[in-house]
Structure formats: structure tokens, C-alpha cells
Symmetry: C2
Subunit: 697 residues, 2 copies
Amino acid sequence: MEKNTKSYTATWIWYPGDFEIRLHEKMSVVRRARGVMYPAYWRLDRNYSNIKFRYRYELEQEEQIHVMAEGTFSFYLDGKDNYRSADSVITIPAGRHEISISVFNDIETPALFISGPTVWTDSKWEVTSYQNDWKQAGSWTFDTPDNPPSRFRLSTTPHEPTSVTIHDGYPLLDFGRETFGYLRFHNMKGTGTVRVYYGESMAEALSPEECVTLDRFEARDASKGGENEIYTLKEAKAFRYVWIHADPEVSWGHISMLYEYVPVEYQSSFECSDPKMNEIYEMSLYTLHLNTREFFLDGIKRDRWVWSGDAYQAFLMNYYSFFDLDVTRRTLVALRGKDPLTMHINTILDYSLYWFISLYDYYQYTGDFEFIQQYYDRAVSLMDFCLKQRNEEGLVEGRQEDWVFVDWADFNNDGAVSTEQILLVRGLEAMSLFASLMGEDATAKNYSVLGEEIKSKTLRLFWDDEKGGLLHHRVEGETKPTLTKHASMFAMTYDYLSPEQRDSVIRNVMLNPDVPKIRTPYMRFHELAVLCESGAHDFVRREILSYWGGMIELGATTFWEEYDPSLADDAHYGMYGVKFGKSLCHAWGAGPIYILGKYFLGVTPTSPGYETYRIAPNLGGLEHMKGTLPTGAGQVSVEMDLSTISVESTSGTGILTFSSSESPVCNEGEIREVGNCSYEVTIEAGKKYRVSYQLMK
Amino acid sequence: MEKNTKSYTATWIWYPGDFEIRLHEKMSVVRRARGVMYPAYWRLDRNYSNIKFRYRYELEQEEQIHVMAEGTFSFYLDGKDNYRSADSVITIPAGRHEISISVFNDIETPALFISGPTVWTDSKWEVTSYQNDWKQAGSWTFDTPDNPPSRFRLSTTPHEPTSVTIHDGYPLLDFGRETFGYLRFHNMKGTGTVRVYYGESMAEALSPEECVTLDRFEARDASKGGENEIYTLKEAKAFRYVWIHADPEVSWGHISMLYEYVPVEYQSSFECSDPKMNEIYEMSLYTLHLNTREFFLDGIKRDRWVWSGDAYQAFLMNYYSFFDLDVTRRTLVALRGKDPLTMHINTILDYSLYWFISLYDYYQYTGDFEFIQQYYDRAVSLMDFCLKQRNEEGLVEGRQEDWVFVDWADFNNDGAVSTEQILLVRGLEAMSLFASLMGEDATAKNYSVLGEEIKSKTLRLFWDDEKGGLLHHRVEGETKPTLTKHASMFAMTYDYLSPEQRDSVIRNVMLNPDVPKIRTPYMRFHELAVLCESGAHDFVRREILSYWGGMIELGATTFWEEYDPSLADDAHYGMYGVKFGKSLCHAWGAGPIYILGKYFLGVTPTSPGYETYRIAPNLGGLEHMKGTLPTGAGQVSVEMDLSTISVESTSGTGILTFSSSESPVCNEGEIREVGNCSYEVTIEAGKKYRVSYQLMK
């Protein structure tokens, strides 16, 4: 058998998705509003408590296996289920046999770990929730008996404050920048109450009555240990500042924190001639990293929830930075949850649709078909659910109970919203691809035909020749005259427009000051991407410097949920009618990672998993830039100034494309002219290419 | 407000069904096979962990409420969810307001208890699982803060063994009859291992290698307490005998048990001229009582699971004995479980269908519309699921993954089985009734029309004029020639046959020795009912005496899962290829409760909740009988001998029907002749009626 030739690699296994779904259940209730639980307001799905594993083996001689379970287990052989064992060491007979193991756990996800000379648990085992659903068991990196999935915790490391000052007689600690973790009191003494006020801003920490996050404990609970004892608060929080109000009798040595994080690898770099842009890039990476946790969060203070639309962008940023696929997969699985589907993901129509597109992107960037395969049926049922919600014209609409979000903006989302149709079409293209990967050609065709139908219907019903873009929505068979940027933007992103329509959208919609401005980094992400798609890199560079640079000017150490330059001072910190309601560390604030990686360094996969890819570097007004981007199997390095482009990669085959006003020169590869001052060079892995060119004016 | 006029009645509330579903999850894994877990092999549903309650109040002045939750809670007012409280005492303002309380609990069912002068939790509160599903909160009898739903336990009381004898040097305890509970060791001393072998029969207890149930513990764990200390084993078991093997150093004062039970009220009685029949009746009551637990179980040793077909019968027996509606409702809710429906209840097609019929019976016997209303949507979705599984002819069939059970018997259930169609028709009648109670007349009509269609199709396709009954199944459009009793029996029970067909079924099917005999008490239940429906009481009486009396002859103290008089000695105890595999205390063994109550004493509701009912007593060869039956609101007493019938009731209006060969006399009511020697007397509550009659020969 194949396995006999492998080295020992037993791992904990479970029902696929249930580790992620259980973790998501836990993490969805850690948000606090002034010390009080603020749970996510959608159905939280739960792992199955009662499952059964099976495995068929063939052995020349009997062997002893060691069995461990999270939960109660029950082992039997060859379907003889009246003859069970719960022994931790079991001798399995020689010959061909089938092992069955029931595991029940009504607290944590039931999981199993078996190790033996040739038989052990891994993803070759199958598992059922007793619904006629034998599936490949879920597993990850829990490869030792004493590290079961329920004990999963992020990494931690101690950090010290950068300053301690006294305000109104109480110490205010500054950790230098936004951070996340557990506050620690060293060598605490005395009795009395300690109150901790956290702030993402100093103003927030100094507002005991209005700060969003706070803590409170009795000093005697903290001072039970001896000398050098460290008392670590129970709950991790997002903050830069903490203001400590302790009763007079309470004292301590000093205060530090335990920074909690996913140990991602910073696989990208970007450095250019503009130090402000470099600062924006580094701050974006840190903002994304803080939100890269058990799952991709929207923000670490608020909501600390997993939102599909937010995650869609975090996924893309991640492909251009950490390339951490574990967090990506956990997030995709948690968002999809379980059946029955009665509400949209996060209750939002667009957020169900982003899920398909995120999965599509996952496949493009990673080429990981196994994951697609494992969750294909959940994708099919989610699409069924979405398709059921189309109106008589065949356009998708929100139901009474659905939230049609699109963006934080004052527009009416009644009826069929054009943006939703565009997202649905992209979702159907994704499903068509997945179906064809699964070998279901007829299904693939159906998805594809339906997508084309809805696409052309959408362009027919929403395109306004006079206004030169897609109108916003259509109510009871009548398209309303409102023009917004969103649908046109997505239609450009997914390449659904003719060249004439693209030109018109850029001129009449994107750059038209009469069309309502986009104020969230969330939609600026798409806006700037679209502007880059049409070559407006210089404009985008200036926008980034002004918008993200503007937050830095105001003292940001991570990027915000929303930024309106017109607000004054502390007014920036408010949102949703709450004085410090805004999240100052929001994943969607980290968009420059994506824009600079994809459109300035210019690297994009052109086949799944970067087997082939495109490098189209664009200085966009910078004098020089250099950077590295991960491609999964390896990396691509790009360096460019006004006359030289250097490229090197470690895997796959790239096509370098660039423009030059004079004939370029490359000694390491053949330059092909592909049109009006445009050139290409094929980039083979393991070789450094240097092109001399002349920047177009 | 209405509530202000009521006395203080705060109670724990939860998401409807979730108390039952959580309890069912726990109870479905307590079965053991020689000490090893043997969980139910269907999907176990779980309570929602994240829910929200709401309540609108109007107060003239503010008041303090006390808040307790099982889980973490978070209180807010008027939708202002950024301003939350987790305080246990909260002052709520005067005026009209809406309270919202999120409760999260990922171990037990989230539940809430609020008490205040005028505001408190009860079934007027609403609850959501965040699926746009505001529902009336679930509640029961958890009416004090310190008695939350998660602490629900059955009652216990100490019992002593009736004898202790020594076998092979080890003590064998006999508790006199089958029982259930926790073994207790008094004043245990010494160290060593104690092994306990349980037996429903003495043979089983004396077979350490083959008894199904056993225990094992270390004496030092039991001897930690001082004098008179009692060590109670952790797990409750079904047994009559226990054989104790302790290591030599271990000693104890004596051994007893803690009998665990639901404190039902024995609301029925039956006493007649045949002592054997009286013994059968009492033993039936005890058999049913032992199986009346958190839910109606199939058997207390095996499977200790909740099976819908078994419960269908237990429900009916219960209406003629304990009339315990709590266990009934818990069982109905647990069986239905949650969506999505992917498999049938207990994986069995017929068991899904019995659920509707059980709910129908529940309404007939109790008139409790509120319960129907609360679970109507779950009934609708279960019927949708069943109706999807019809073949091209519109007949319901088992899918590849379904079990089509009907009965333990050697017949082929391929294709469309006639019994399943009859059960589906009855289910559709039930759904039609429920829909019309819900005011959904069009839906009611649809169910009813569909039911009629399937009924006439079934009679047309399966009735065999020559054989005089319904054939068993139809494969690929061809009805197979197999004749079984089952479909004809159910068609008679539900009154789907013409008088000629009924006669034919009795003669050519039920009493025909060439048709395969029914060997399970499960189907004997229906068989004897049908025979009574056609007046064969005397035959039924003799069958009961021989079949149930036969088990008593063999030493039964409760009735068995199956009984084959032709077996010898210990062979009776085996089943499923396991030497002591048979359950000797099986709910479906208690059928005489139903037969004697419904067909001998003769009491049946003729409108929901016994507002009106029929009393048709029949001695069936007995010389006299007397008994009492519960009717929910009250009871009916019936006494009859060869020349007198006495009847008394406490509520509702009854019709006494009987036959007499001479003109009967009744001083308390008017006798109406309704046909050939048949008479009726209307029975008003609170009055005793005495009829002199002459038994028909």
C-alpha cells in the first residue's frame, strides 16, 4: 500500500469544516461593548457532535495502534458494531479490514488521533455525520497527540509599552502603535479594584465613560502568586493606549502586554523613491497582519467578526503579502457555515456573492483544486439559495429580511441593484469553472449560460448611454436614474464592458466629480484598482498619498474603517453615533498592499497557482521602485526605474510586459514587440532579466 | 396590561425545541455495549448557541428586574445595541420599551430567567436564532432561578435487592423485577477492582463474557468517604440482576440501588375476572413506565434511543395510562429535530410518516392546538421532504440511503411499499387538519386532495381481489404478488376500506394461517387493534393471554422486544446475533394497555381533547371488568359484567354504545336504539349511569 512507504505522519482528523466552524462560533462572541458581550447577529453554526470515521487497511501482520480522541470514542471492526472497544491501545488483525470509530463530543469538535506502525489517521480517512455523507476527513497541522484541535491558540510574545505618563493621577501607557493582546501586571500587590480603559486613540483611553473597550478586576485575584508573578488579563483586546485606574492600596511592578498574532511570513516587500508611500505600504502590512487571526476580521476592536465582503479584500491583499492560505481557508469555510441556508452570509446579499468570487480568486492564486473539491457541494447549495431569490425578470433582489449593502453610502437599494447582478454573474462564472474542474460539464455549461444571460440582461437594462455608465437599481421593471460608481466599477474589474464602455466609465463615472464620492477604504479598494486597470497609475498614486497619507498625518499607526478628511480632530473617531465607534485598525484599510503589488509591481497569475503569470510594472509617477511578491511555490522580484526593469522569479513562467518610447534591450531574453510601443519578454524561473527601456511620457 | 393582574410566575425560557433537542443529544449516547459507548447512528441535532430574546412592556413607573442566564447574556433597550448591560439587577425605565437580551451558550441550551414586580420571563417573550424567525419562547416547569433547564434530571428513590445469593463465590443480587437506575455500594472499604455484570435475566448477569451491560471501578475511588458513606455508580443501567466480582481486599456493608424514573401518575386501572389478564395489564404499565423517561425509549437496556415508530405506540399507550404529555411533547420535538432534512427520522421512511400520525393523535387526545401551532412549520418541512421522495407514479419510495422498515420480517421492501403509502395518506390527513387549524384553508385543501389521490391510487394498484387484501409492494410499475398483513391492517385502522374489503381482510388476511405470522409485539399491537375493530375481542383476549402470558410463564417481569414461543430456554434472550441482545423491557411490549383501554373498556375521543368521546365496552369473553381511563381534563370509569354496564365521567360528553339481546334499562339516561340490537346512552359528566343489558351470544 502507498502509505507503508511514507514516514510516520499521524494527524488529528475531524469532520471537514467542523474545526473552522467551531472556532468561528467561539470567535464570534469575543467582541465587547464596554465589557459586555456583543455577539455576531447571524446564526452561528455548530460542529456535529456525533460522527464516525472509517478506514480500510490491508496488513500482512497484526499491529498495535494507539487511539486518542477529543470526546468519547468507540472502535469496531468490519461493521460488527456490537463488539466495540474504547481501549487506548488496540491490536488490529492482519488481512483486509475496515476500522470504524464513532466519536461523540458535545463541547468541542470531535476529533481522532491514531498512530501505529503502518495505520494512522490522516486525510485518507473518511468521516460521516450519519447523513449518508462519507467525506474525506478534515485535518491540518495538529500532528502530535498532545496538540488536539480544541487547544488551538494563536502565538503570543511579550511587548513593553514605549511610554508611561500620568494623567489625572493615573498612568497612561502607550504601546507605540496599535496592537492586540493581553495586558499583564507584574508583581501586583494590595487589595482593591483595578479599572483598565483601552483606546485605539489616546482620546479614547482617556475617556472612561465612552471608551469602547474596558476591563475591571480585583487586585487580590491578581496577587495570589509570589514575587515576579505575572497576572495576565483573560481577554485579548485591541488598543494602543491603556489608562489604568487602580484603587490607592493597589500597586504593581510594571505593566506589559502579551501580543497575540498569527506567525505569518512577510513574503512581500515594496520600496520606492517616495518615503511616504513606503510608510503607507508598511502600515498596510501591519494593519492586515493585525486582522489576520483565527480568521480574517473586519477590525480588531470592532466588530471582531468575520464578514465576507471584508474578507474578499483581505484575501486579495494576503495573496500580495503573507500568502497565508490557512487563514484564507479557515475564513472561507467559516463564512459558508452549514445548511440550511435561510439567510445570506452575514445577512447580506452581496456577501453571499463575494464568497464565490473569493473562492474563484483562491483557485486562481493557489491552484488548490483539492479545497475546491472538498467544499464544492457547499458552493452549489449556496448558489441554489442565491438563484432562488431572483425576481420575475430573473434579476437577484434582496428579500424583506436581507441586507443589500453595496457600500456605506446614502443610496436606495430597493429592487434589483445592478452591482448585485454583476457580482452574481461573476459568481456564476466561478461556479462554472468549479463544475468543470469537478468534471460536471453539463452543470458547468448551465452556470455559464445563465451567467451570460444575466450579464447581457444587466448591461441592457442598466447601461445609460447618456450618463455613460451603469445605473444603480431597477424597481418593479423600471430602471431608476441614479448613477453610482459601484456597478460600473465591478463590471470593469470583471471585464464585462466593451472598450468604448470602459472609456466612458472612466471619463463619465470614475473621474466625474458629480457622481457621489466613495468614502470607505472598502470601495476605494475597487475604485483604485479600476483606475489602475485603465492606466491611471499616477492619479492613483496621488490618491493613495492623500487618502492614506492623510490618516498618517492624523497620527494613525494602522488604517481606519473610514476616513473623511473634512472632519476635525476627535470627530474622526466616531461612527454609528458612538463617540469612539470607528475601528482604527480595519482590514479593508490595507488596500495599498493590493494596489501596489498588483498594479505597480504589476504581478498577476494568468493560470491557476501562478503556473503562468504576467508582470506589468508601472512606476505611476515614482522614480524607482523595487519589491518582491509571493506566488505560492516561490516569488517574483521586480525592480524598476526610469530606464531599467529587472525581474527574477523562482517558479512558473512569466510574461514581462512594458511600454518603451525607444527600442528596449535585454541580454537575457528575447524582446517581442506586441503593438504600439508595447513589448514582452518571457521570464523563466531561476534567471535574472534586465531590460533597458525608455519611460513613455 | 394583562400580566399585571397575574401572580408572580417567572420561568426559564429558551429557543423553542432546544431544551428537548439538547436533552436528546445527551440521551442518544448513553447506550453502552459492554462498557463502550454505542451512540445513535443518525445525525444528532444541536441547540442554537446564539439567540436573542425580546419583550415589549409598558410601565407606569420604572422597576428593578433580576436577570439570570444559562450562558453569557447581554441586555439592551429599544434596539440601542451599543449600550449593553450584563448586570444581574437592572432598572428598566417607565413607559413603552422593548427589552432585547442576547444569550450565548456553547455547552448547554442558552436560557433566560428574569423576575421583576411586573416584568418577568414567560412564554409571552419572543426569541430568534437570527434567522428572521421570531418565535414564542419555549418554557416548561423551570420556575425558580436555581432550577435551570440544564439541571433537569429524572427523579430517584432508593430500592433494596429482594435477595442476595452467592454464585461461584460472588454475590448475585436480585432486585425482584426489571428496574433502572444507579447501583450503590454502602460503606466500601479496601483496595482493588470491582466488576459489575448486569442482567435483565439471571443468565445474562451470570455471563461476564457476554452480558451486554457491565461496570468496573476501583474500590479506592468509592471508599473516600467515612462511615455510612454511599458510593453511587456514575451511569444508570437497566437490570434485574447484578453479579459483583470484587478483588479479595474489597468489602462493603451492602448494595442497593437508586431507582430512576419519571414520577408519572398511574391514571388508569383495569381489573377483570381473569387474574392472568390483570397481571398482564399491571406488567404492561410497569414496562411502559420504565420506558417513559426523558423521552419514550424503545427499550431501557437496548437501544435506549428514541425511535419514532416505537414512540408512536408508546404515545397511544400513554393516553390510556399516565397521560403524561410532557414526555410526549419532548419526544415529538426531539424526533423532528432540526433542518436541513437530509435523512428520514431514525433513517427510516415509515418513521418519518409515523411522526405526523403521532402528532395527529396528540391533537385528538389532548386538543392542544398551541403545541401544533408552535411546531407546524417543522411539520410542513418534514412533509415537503417526504413528498419529494415519490416515484413517477406519485408513490413514496425509499432512496438508496433510506431504511424501509415496516417490521422485523423477511420481506422485500423494494420499490413502493403499500404500507408506506397508507401511512403517507394518514400523514397528509394530519397535515390537512393542522393547516386548517392554522387557518390555511388552501393548503389544507391541497394536502387533503393529494391524500385522497394517493389513497385511491394505492387501493387501485395494490388491492388484489383474488387474495382479498393489499399486496406488499410494487417495483418499476409492477405490483408483486406478495401478500402481507401490514398494509391491510393500517388501511383498516385508518378506515380506508369498504365494508366488503374489511370483511375480506379479516377473513383472508388477518385470520389466514397462510399469510406470514407477525412475531413482534410492535406489529401485534396493530394486528390486535384491527381484530378488535372488527369485533374479534374474544380472539384477541386469548391471543393476549397466550402471547403476553407466555412471556410471564418464562419469568418475564416486563415485556420483551420480541417473543417466539417456539424457542427454548435462554435462546429467548438472544437477538441480532448477540447472546443477550434482546431487550427484555421494550415499550412496544406494553400494547395490552392500549388494547384493553381502547377496545375492552372501549374509550376513544371523538373530538379533540375528549370534549366528546365514545365508550364501547366489550368483555371479549371476560366475565366482568372494571377500569378507569384518563381523558386529560378528567377521567372515565367503566364497569361491566354479563348483565350490567356502569359508567361515570368527570368531564366532556360521552356516548355509551353497546349491544344487548334484550331491551336494556337505564334509570339515569335515555337509551336510544341505533340499529340491530345496538343502543346508545349519552353520558354527561358528573353523573353515574347504570345500564342493565343482556350480553349477546
